[in-house]
Amino acid sequence: MPLDDALIYKRVEYLLQQIFENLTVIGQIDGNEVEEWVFDYENFAESKRFATKWLQLADGNRIMLCEEYDIEEYELKIVRYAYIYSDMNGSELLRAENAHPHNVFTDPHHIHDFRFGKSKKPKPFQRQDLDNPDITEFFAHIRGNRL
């Protein structure tokens, strides 16, 4: 297996394990239907990214996790990511991502918390000495452990 694929595989496997450890996934949302979440090899292996599309959770809420990868100096780099947690109507509750519009100290890693109002002021997300996001921190925010 080429190094690129091996590194991406390792990350995909880690994310899948984290998802099943932290969330109860009922299935993948397709239109108005909830279908079985199938292993999308075109997405994971060929497109060099991890994208779950919208997943239905047991508590009625939804989550979507996306990461885009590059391999730099034999290491996996998560160049772009977005983790979105929303209610059953699709309204965002939490969103962590690394788009660059905020010229604040949290940039580029930041999290929007919409659970207590519509404030768009982002909070820090992820220890700032690391390049890549920590998915477990996002799950901790969902559980309310990082408020």
């Binding site: 979440w37 292996a45 772009r80």
Partner: protein
Amino acid sequence: MAGNKPEKAPSFASIEEASEWWDERSGDYWDKAKEVHFDIQIDKKPLHKIYKQFQTAYKELTGNSIDWRDIPENLQNSLRTFQPLSVKEFIKLPQNIRMAYFASHKSPDNVVLNKIKKRLAFYENKYGITSEDFYRKYHNSESLYEGSPEQVCDFLLWHGDYRRYLELKNAIR
């Protein structure tokens, strides 16, 4: 049934229609039937190809060969029917088999590029904007998250596809 059967069997619009008609009248027309011979050719190539890819990937990863009988039943079904495994099933496979499954589903770059071009065309048609303009407008912009849940999902996938498209285009060139 035999009392009011037509002299000749009618013509049918579909195989299903013919099948249903003959199921109901089994034996009524034996006296008019002629013996025929036909061959059935079942194409084994697709299973052979994906199974070979899986075997090759497994051997590369482990140094050992794997026989069909050693593959878990749910994975055998997936290889046979081309239906991808559910993520829950995938994550429960033994690690070497999981990695080989992942590696065996990788197409050559030119094939991946064509698949991605089709997806880009789909998004361009759906949202009425070129991929280049989309990327320029939404890359590093939070307006990417302002649409409906369906649009946010499409835009995130579109963004990733366009990045990969640029990467592959440069690599192939």
